[in-house]
């Protein structure tokens, strides 16, 4: 039976909802806060900011991360920036515009009330970070500088060189460290959450593995918050860090938390192309490069063929023979169209044979025009570290002059191609960021709520910090208000013992398969299936094939996996095997959702549903809802429930980036 999900959106006009909520929510008095424990899993932007804020309020926080330090969480790799509706550039920006752009960018599949709240608190985030000493870029007058990002016609993105995620994370990490010092947060590094423990229908703790000793440990609390990021590594090759995984989220899903919109996966248009079968990850080149870089492929197919054969170089092709296809197709937004649109346009050109590298799977990102206009110094100041990073990886420096045609200097262009980057889907949460399991909350990339079917650039940092600093610390109190009267939950309860035993049994199972194949070799194969059948261009037929192949490969995993070593002590292969087990569940979930959604929207593109011009064709009549999936067992199709979307502040229309 499909369930009715209560999103708990407060009544009243959209701009008033959050104010009203805060005015009437239940609070916890200072004495009672001291009695309440909260587990926060993860120390990225969302996890660290939540743990720091909750600790500061007086709660006792247990905070875990899989890395050796909270400062290493993958939020650190975000390059471009963070959006806020400050309107420091006097360009007509406002909370409403940021809200509108985010909903539109998400292809009208996000929850209105959540997005409005996000836009509303965006300004507080900038204030908070500056007070922490985050060194955002500034103008000569001493004011904060901004740049523009895809999907917006204003400059509202704050940045710290190409290292904005790093600086914001270090800001959150410093606040977290302050609370660790104050004794309000107890930090556990190199610990991984393996299961959530449910007592009387409420999340009351977790089972975590000490990754160095291999021992399982029990943690109990009054509420559990997961901030464990997305599931991009299901595809093996992605821009995610090697350790990113969805084990915590999938365990919550198996224990009854609904998983929403898994098919909304973001493919980032500007990554360094794949170069060989030994590659372990894909490197992102910040979207901010699209401010000054122009994306093109040759107009003539013979030029493309010469580029692929290596007999011609990009800089030998003169201006008139270049096809700046984004500027051609989308004159109003040009190179700054949203990510899903830019990615599909690149795929379309490459599919037609216009790819520019030896595999035919790359397009150029060219800075010649900007360097000629602004000078190399200005461009280096803006993107110097990205150019250097590109050179380290590819041996090509994009600031080098390569050719001069008719007095015009041509610089070496970058080559880029789309890659899996971010997952908009995630654990279903209500307005309070609570999952369908009472007492279990999900924040940051790990939940689904704010980005709809496509996330705009510089919005992930905004959402992670909004959830962690400004939303969850309030909404969790509405849940915790009556929890102080409950006695502390003992970790000796049979529910804890049973959960620990199950995790232990799973480790034994994986170790005892003693087959022939390494975790990575199977993971790579899963990645190929995902990219081929559940990637950028999906069809009903392909998705069914993908599901079948995943099913067969999962059988291979269960029967022919080889994990060396034992469960005592550090065993990196065992940990990877557990992650891979859950990537299988995740991959199938993405495919089921993609198969059930017979429309194209945002990051989900079904080839059967496109306009004559190749644009995504939404079906608001039948699919204007959040697809929420309930686990029904291994290998069994999960059950779909729907949370209908209701828009009152924004008129739903077809996305248009042309004029």
């Amino acid at each position: 039976m499909a369930k009715v999900l209560d999103s708990k959106i407060p009544a009243g006009p959209v701009p008033e909802k959050w104010k009203e909520y805060k005015a009437h929510q239940r609070l916890v008095n200072p004495k009672n806060k001291l009695k309440l424990d909260v587990i926060v899993v993860g120390t990225g932007l969302a996890g660290a900011s939540a743990a720091a804020s909750l600790g500061e309020m007086g709660f006792n926080v247990i905070n875990l991360c899989i890395q050796d330090s909270p400062r290493r969480a993958h939020s650190i790799a975000a390059q471009g920036g963070i959006n806020a509706a400050k309107c420091y550039q006097n360009d007509g920006d406002s909370v409403y515009r940021l809200f509108y752009d985010t909903v539109k960018g998400g292809d009208y599949r996000a929850r209105e009330a959540n997005v409005y709240r996000l836009a509303e608190v965006s300004n507080n985030i900038i204030d908070q970070c500056v007070a922490q000493g985050v060194p955002f870029a500034r103008e000569y007058g001493g004011m904060l500088a901004n740049r523009s990002f895809g999907g917006a016609q204003v400059s509202r993105t704050f940045y710290a060189k190409g290292q904005t995620g790093q600086q914001l994370l270090l800001g959150a990490y410093s606040s977290l460290s302050c609370q660790v010092n104050a004794g309000k947060v107890k930090l556990y590094t190199r610990y991984e959450m393996e299961d959530v423990v449910i007592v009387d229908g409420r999340a009351r703790g977790i089972i975590a593995k000490n990754l160095c000793t291999g021992k399982l440990e029990r943690f109990s609390a009054n509420a559990v918050v997961i901030a464990t990021g997305g599931y991009g590594n299901t595809y093996f090759l992605s821009t995610n860090a090697m350790g990113c995984n969805c084990t915590a989220a999938i365990q919550c899903y198996r224990k009854g938390a609904f998983f929403a919109n898994p098919s909304y996966v973001q493919i980032h248009p500007t990554c360094i192309p794949v170069h060989g079968d030994k590659q372990s990850k894909l490197t992102l080149m910040s979207e901010s490069l699209r401010n000054d870089g122009r994306i093109w492929v040759p107009k003539k197919i013979e030029d493309a063929k010469a580029l692929q054969a290596g007999t011609k170089q990009g800089w030998e092709i003169p201006e008139e023979d270049r096809d700046y296809y984004l500027e051609r197709r989308y004159p109003a937004f040009g190179n700054l169209v949203p990510r899903d649109v830019a990615s599909r346009a690149a795929k379309e050109r490459c599919d037609k044979g216009f790819g520019v590298n030896n595999t035919g799977l790359a397009v150029f990102l060219d800075f010649s025009e900007s360097i000629n206009r602004l000078g190399i110094d200005v461009i280096m100041q803006r993107y110097g570290n990205l150019f250097e990073m590109y050179e380290e990886i590819t041996d090509v420096f994009p600031g080098d002059v390569a050719n001069e045609i008719n007095g015009v200097k041509y610089y070496k262009p970058m080559m880029i191609y789309p890659a899996i980057h971010y997952t908009m889907g995630g654990i279903w949460v209500d307005y309070e960021l609570q999952t369908t399991i009472p007492g279990l909350f999900a924040i940051g990339e790990c939940n689904f709520s704010d980005h709809g079917a496509n996330r705009l650039g510089a919005s992930a940092l905004m959402q992670g910090l909004a959830d962690g600093y400004f939303v969850l610390p309030y909404t969790i109190q509405n849940y915790l208000a009556d929890q102080a009267v409950w006695p502390k939950v003992s970790t000796d309860l049979p529910e804890f013992a049973a959960a620990e035993k199950a995790v232990d049994a799973e480790m034994d199972r994986l170790l005892n398969i003693k087959g022939k194949r390494s975790v990575d070799s199977i993971h790579k194969e899963l990645g190929h299936i995902m990219w081929e059948y559940v990637g950028m261009g999906r069809t009903a037929e392909g998705l069914k094939t993908g599901l079948k192949k995943m099913h067969e490969l999962e059988k291979e995993f269960d029967e022919n996996l080889f994990v060396p070593g034992t469960k005592e002590g550090l065993n990196i292969e065992l940990d990877k095997a557990i992650h891979l087990r859950d990537f299988f569940t995740m991959g199938q979930l993405v495919a089921f959702d993609a198969l059930s959604r017979n429309e194209s929207c945002g990051g989900h593109f079904r080839e059967e549903y496109q306009t004559e011009e190749g644009e995504a064709k939404r079906d608001d009549k039948n699919y204007f809802y959040v697809g929420c999936w309930e686990y029904k067992g291994k290998g069994v199709e999960p059950e779909l429930s729907k949370e209908p979307l209701e828009y009152e502040a924004i008129k739903v229309q077809t996305r248009n980036y042309k004029n």
Binding site: A77, G142, V180, M242, Y469, S518, F562, L570, E573
Partner: protein, 252 residues
């Protein structure tokens, strides 16, 4: 175009902090030189696992040079040799030649005990930050971000100091096992900004006291740290740290 190279890799094996440790050796064949150093180690591990052996353990995560997790001592240099400084994950095999012997060791420092093979425990860095590497502000109470103007030059310099990724290469390179470059980068970032001035004296004293307590050595200006820093932090930061410390002491 990528060419293939073959070489010998000697890698450190150590089962926990108390184990004496030893080198293992493996022949690598036909590795494309556009492979990254860590991808080469992935290939090594795949081969070890196929032989039924346990993989070689090392820290790594983002593989984009920003998380600071990777930490290998390659041919006697932290992160291996590059011209402008890069992390281990940003090192590519094109920097090596056919027939090379490549030696891989962990960070060796008393304050960074080995967990396994080349994975070390750098929690000491977190403890130093916990001692004072922050501004004590309450969430949600900050004034408008443009209320305090900060000269661009100061903000840019603070940004350079804040670029430290906490990898620990500076400690590994220093003959004294000093953490001064790491500590001074954080102290400098906050000392350069008006927001950080309020607690400047308290911060520098507490962080230095914690650094000493955790067993890091002193600075003797050999500049080995800045030579290997993947983010090009400079010892000008250490000079600033010393000035901040003197200022704080004089005010006592």
């Amino acid at each position: 175009m990528a060419k293939n190279i073959s070489f010998t890799i000697k890698f450190w094996r150590q089962n926990g902090p108390k184990d004496q440790g030893h080198f293992d050796q493996h022949e690598m064949h036909d590795i494309p030189d556009d492979t990254s150093f860590l991808e080469m180690l992935d290939i090594l591990n795949e081969e070890l696992i196929n032989e039924g052996k346990e993989p070689f353990v090392f820290d790594h995560d983002c593989r984009e040079g920003i998380c600071g997790m990777c930490s290998l001592y390659i041919n006697g240099t932290p992160h291996g040799k590059t011209e402008r400084g890069a992390t281990t994950c940003q090192l590519y095999m094109r920097r090596f030649n056919d027939g090379d012997v490549i030696t891989v060791e962990p960070w060796r420092s008393a304050a960074f005990p080995v967990i396994k093979d080349c994975m070390v425990d750098r929690n000491a860095f977190d403890k130093i930050i916990q001692a004072g590497g922050y501004t004590t502000i309450r969430t949600g109470q900050a004034q408008d971000a443009n209320a305090i103007l900060i000269p661009k030059e100061d903000a840019d310099e603070a940004m350079d100091c804040a670029s430290c990724i906490g990898c620990g290469a500076c400690v590994a390179a220093c003959k004294n096992g000093s953490a001064m470059l790491f500590v001074s980068s954080k102290v400098s970032q906050l000392a350069l900004l008006p927001q950080g001035r309020v607690e400047a004296a308290r911060r520098v004293k507490n962080m230095i006291a914690k650094m000493d307590e955790l067993g890091f050595g002193n600075c003797t200006n050999t500049r080995a740290c800045e030579a290997v820093c993947p983010k090009n932090e400079t010892i000008a930061n250490i000079a600033r740290l010393n000035r901040e410390m003197i200022k704080a002491k004089l005010a006592d």
